[in-house]
């Protein structure tokens, strides 16, 4: 049995109240999460996630909203309408399609447990279901402070969340560098992109989209680490073999935060005047990948992760497909600056203070209430100037196909364009960035300016 099911019941239904600006450690979180969620069971009203069980395993899910008035239950299951009657410790009712036609019947047992078991009955057969109460009610946005004491090196739904937050909330926290060193250059974790989080977002469920807006990203120390060589994936075999590499050249950088520049910390004579402008970014923004999978934090995928795209900086909003209850958001791997492709394997790796706001958008990125189509979709990013889509794949050719299709689908949906119209727009106005070729999957970004899109008639 998978680890996910063990902690789920304990954590998700609790109501957490934080001061607008407060401090929580994961130890405090753990204590709070044991609060008894069944206290409210005298009424079924609220938001639920419905899981379809197959041989006891959760294989599909849907969003359920219930309203109980006395023994009368009404509600929705995705686009279906529910009506039922509460009697003798269970609810029995019917599901109707949007057009009013019958979809099937259901029964839910109301026990003393946090989660409710039941059955959906259709002409094609019965399905076992399980309902789990989730948050997601409209509450006033808060700003929360999280000071991490531990960092995680997998993107995974198996890690207990360090904090529960609501859609609309803002989190102020910090990240260590890719090697696990903090703002004081003290080792806080083994290396490999240790992450801050995960943050459980109330009301987020599989099939939704999580929007993460980076309100501020501020470097908090004066050094960064990188390498002074090019990765083999970026150069020809002949170049890779023929060039003698001199490991005595340091890949360390000095950050001048006041003037916004970085210079080699121990420069060779040739590079003593070389400097680059700081352009802080987060290498990693990711949610739990779902399906009980856990990826090392060097990885990236449809769920985001180590995207290593220099467009993920202050002011950017990252859209990620939620695959687990609560989304379980991770952030980390700040870069003071990164050239295209992340050709040194590392960018200018450093620590940072970060402030981000989350928002749950019901329904997938391909359209309302639809699951992302596997392979076509990847994370999306938006800033004041651009819509940007990731294409993450095993080769640049695959990555480009995904990035282009992802962007085409985005503007077709949002601007009501036909594929031909989208082709006219993209063919003249698309721009690609090669975000990175250094990670287990490569990442190409397709982008289009909002100025170009503003010319499209409504």
């Amino acid at each position: 049995m998978f680890h996910k099911t063990f902690y789920g019941a304990l954590l998700t239904a609790c109501t957490l109240t934080f001061p607008t600006v407060g401090v929580m450690t994961s130890a405090v979180m753990a204590a709070q999460s044991v609060a008894n969620a069944t206290a409210e069971r005298n009424n079924l009203s609220g938001n639920w996630i419905l899981y379809v069980l197959q041989n006891g395993e959760k294989t599909d899910s849907a969003r359920v909203r219930l309203q109980q008035n006395g023994n009368v239950l009404t509600g929705t299951l995705n686009e279906l309408k529910l009506t039922g009657t509460v009697a003798n410790g269970s609810v029995t009712g019917q599901m109707l399609r949007p057009d009013g036609k019958a979809f099937g019947g259901f029964t839910i047992q109301i026990g003393t447990q946090v989660d409710l078991h039941g059955t959906i009955r259709r002409s094609s057969g019965n399905e076992d279901i399980l309902l789990h109460k989730i948050g997601g009610e409209d509450v006033a946005p808060q700003t929360r402070v999280f000071i991490p004491t531990k960092y995680y090196r997998v993107f995974s739904g198996s890690i207990a969340p360090v904090m529960h937050i609501n859609s609309g909330d803002t989190v102020k926290t910090t990240t260590v560098d890719a090697g696990g060193y903090d703002m004081h250059n003290i080792s806080r974790s083994a290396g490999g992109n240790p992450e801050t989080g995960p943050f459980y977002v109330e009301g987020a469920m599989p099939g939704d989209t999580l929007a993460v807006t980076i309100k501020s990203l501020t470097l908090n120390r004066d050094s960064a680490l990188s390498n002074a060589s090019l990765i083999p994936r970026a150069v020809t075999p002949m170049y890779f073999r023929s060039e003698k590499l001199d490991d005595s050249v340091s890949g360390d950088w000095k950050l001048d935060r006041e003037h916004g520049t970085a210079t080699p910390a121990k420069p060779t004579e040739k590079l003593k005047n070389f400097k680059v402008a700081l352009k802080p970014m987060l290498g990693c923004v990711g949610v739990a990948p779902g399906n009980n999978t856990s990826f090392r934090t060097q990885w990236l995928g449809p769920w985001g992760g180590n995207m290593d795209f220099h467009g993920v900086g202050q002011g950017a909003t990252v859209y990620l497909p939620v695959a687990e209850e609560g989304a379980l958001l991770f952030v980390g791997d700040a870069h003071a600056e990164e050239g295209d492709g992340e050709l040194n394997g590392d960018a200018l790796e450093t620590s940072a203070d970060v402030e981000f706001t989350v928002k749950v958008i019901p329904g997938g990125m391909q359209g309302e209430a639809s699951m992302p189509r596997i392979g076509d979709s990847g994370p999306r990013v938006e800033n004041d100037e651009y819509l940007m889509t990731m294409g993450i794949g095993g080769s640049l050719d695959e990555a480009l196909q995904k990035a282009t299709s992802n962007l085409a689908q985005w503007i077709e949906r949002d601007y009501k364009l036909t594929p031909n119209e989208a082709a006219m727009v993209l063919g003249t106005s698309i721009h690609y960035e090669i975000a990175e070729v250094a990670d287990p999957q490569v990442n190409i970004v397709a982008k289009i300016s909002k100025a170009a899109l503003a010319q499209i008639s409504k």
Copy 2:
């Protein structure tokens, strides 16, 4: 025997004089090229290309400079020093290495033919050689006008040059669009990127680099053609299959040269206000590929060709490796504008007036007097802001490797950097462009700003 050898002798040694601004057609050119080149044979002084013959076929070449004073001959063969004595219709002499050590002996027969046959004698055996007189002397730069009457659809050394020009000369000419239509929308050629040229550049020989600077590029009509669909290579198979394409949407564009914009010629309601800024470029700049090969003008390779990179516009200099005597330069395929990747298969295809200057740089792009290393090198481009290198390959992964290595080698040579130093510079400051994924080979461009490079100490 290959066609190339037949015309070579007739054309290359003639001395052409043009008015600073004149008009030549290829018919006039052909007449002039029959001028008897042997008239000057009483003295061997001058520039020659030396071919090594194997079974009568030219398999290698070198640059020879000779100075004859009476019966005393001195000169160079690449880096070797030559001394010889003219007697009885032949020259016999010795070749010395730069360090003064003996390399071998040589004999050259001085007949009445334009080309001279001879032998190089070394301890490892003899080699048959052939010397062919070439131009390349310092002459005052001229501006020449060429009005094409015929266009070519292969990059090939088998086409008789339409004009002989000198290093330093400027050519004013015109190009038709990719479909063969001229400034009056009159068909002048079958389609597929018909080219203007080829131009024979005096003194250019295999192993040299030809620099082509686009002095001006001016659109000369008010329409462009493109397509209203995305090519399969740019999108996922699922996107490609699932989207219904509507061929009734026109891919034609209207060009407003006064205001510098393009708009769909027959827009749908959605696109009635859509416009893009004109950014004229040449899709094709190429030299003869060498080795008796001929590629369709959709092709691109180390020799340039259909590079379809929007950076090849006014003010840009394109560096191409010369593979045949005279380089044989072709230009064509103007685009009014092109998005990254050339995703519609066509960009905004139109006709143009173009003015370019050529310069022969002895020696290959990897260093003086060395042949380009196959696979590592591709065309290079430079403008006021950037050094840019092409990576042309069968996949984007291969293209990126070539582009990066090409740029690393360029800055290592010109700025005397070690690979580690180059890695520090590129890792922070490289930028990629995906020029096109629409042609038989894809093209990724790696670039670095001259502002960044200016920080490198001499």
Copy 3:
């Protein structure tokens, strides 16, 4: 903190004795695994795994063998020699290199806990360590029967093992098909390659190699499922788009186990006589991927998994790099037959009885006591005729490079060949198989016949 550390202490030191042929369910296993491992703590003799801790997290490991005689401790740590003295609840001692030079000192606390904490002291600094007792003693091989009651859909170290076995043991068990259906066509799990296992192999530790020999693989029902279409990765976009697919054609197959053939279950007129020879194979043989990662059972990687190679049948031995204590072996996804590439997405998916023997080979696949080099190495397979290596990658080009290098390194090590000699052998005698292009990573197999290798002089 990761789930793995919670169960580790409870399970690994217990001594399990099974009858030569017995039956264990995972429920029985769980009960036994709580046996108190500390009962033997009066003597440190035995096999241990040493973990290096960084910020409390295990980041490296080594094999330790200890022998305690009274208060005198001797032993090895990989290739280092240990000597120490037990006193006052701790051991203090020295480590010597094979050449007799000092490596550093160590202290181990002997508490009442199952695991022992300690410190390694070197001139470069101290490192926290943790020692965990493991099995791996020579015991008589046994045959064990395992009847699964639950199947798992991730390759993960987070799943409690269903059985502990020793190196040399044979396991008889069964697998369900890729959709979760058993020998009676009863659904036993959700689909997606549900696995039997994981099996904990005593004494296997990170850096070792696990050899899994398939002693028998017997189909146990008369049906298989597949699809009647080609996956997009296997065909051109134009083919994929242009061909009208008819979903009414069934992809079901009937298996004639007596005659060893499969035929379409509901054939079209054209295919009514079409049959293929059965060639049973296991699509999945994998170990836990390590580093707290969990991959869906469609995935494959250096740790094996869904390799979908038709060479993994009866008589084959699969070599996998151990990444977690006990290796945690999974098997599943039997195919009655599979064409190259697994072009229908599914092969002929069915259930099977399988009998396999495991053997722990200390040290990695690149050589004794060395960790596999990332990227160069992948699973290896051997049968009576061939040595075979997997190349698993994001593109076929990457996969081929890995497969070739993997095979070159194998024969260089085992036959003491130089790379040049290996090149002479492989250049004439290598053969490739394209195992699959249907999974999240593609798999190319490089193979060479043992008959060819037998000609190499010792």
Copy 4:
């Protein structure tokens, strides 16, 4: 203007008569080809190729068959029916579709020239045409002997054919090795796959398929050359860089033609007993690529060329798409043996005697009278056991897609299968070979056994 048009008129209409077994050199051929083709102009009956001219350039072609009785002309143009009247030095007539509807009118001028000019008149406009008389009549097959005196290093339509042969004829000739050395190890050409040919096949025209059956392929010397290293494309960058290569190891091989084996000519101690079985094959079988293009003989493409597939041996038939009049067939680059992938860059390169038969199959490989679809199609090969298709591309991923689609289209056409039925057959029974990764394009071969196909009902 292109070279091709100059020689065309002189060569193609001549009637050549050879003894059944005779000897022709290219010198003799040249003399014969000047025979006056216009002598027969008193009657238009015969086979013609019709070219559509656009701005004087041939841009399309069709097969025309004419029958003249007095002043009445009848015939066909592809599937159209022609009727016309001869009067006053021209023919005027009509073209009807197969359904009897009018297609348009035509006029042909009958001058004294070999080729005839004319016009097609349709409602959509007029098109200039040119008719060129070709052979292709049924004649008794002959066996011809060709002893080459010169070899060519481009696949090109610009080379004058060395011999004209008829469909059905057999040619006995010889090939030199890839370095230009003949059966006596005498250099006959510079290296790089010098080819024997080209052979002009009467009646072959663009859009047709040329079938080349290798009747016998016999090695004619006792040595072969190869390399003792692996090419970078076949191994990981890390393997390529880390392994020290020892150039003192010889890549030469000794051939024992009596016993059918090859052994290293100067073996290391380890390889003193290493041998491989001879399996002679032709690395190159190709036709002129068309469109005035010329590719170096290392290249391969839809037109065949340097396919380097070990299945192209005695008994194999290679199907190539004709792109130029007469097809212009080249053969060369014999290998005594080749491992998959041609990993040493060279296989066991040697010279050979070859005997092949040609057959012109009207219409393209996708179906009768249709041009091959670009990108989907490549050369096909057939032997007693297998149908085999080439997938030639810039990456292995692209090559596999082309090979699979090519095979699917072949069996769909020949066995009247739907794509679903083809998927059932290929999914279980396809086998891939990785022919080579050493050339400018890689080559994957998809194959299926005739035994499997024989089970498909008619």
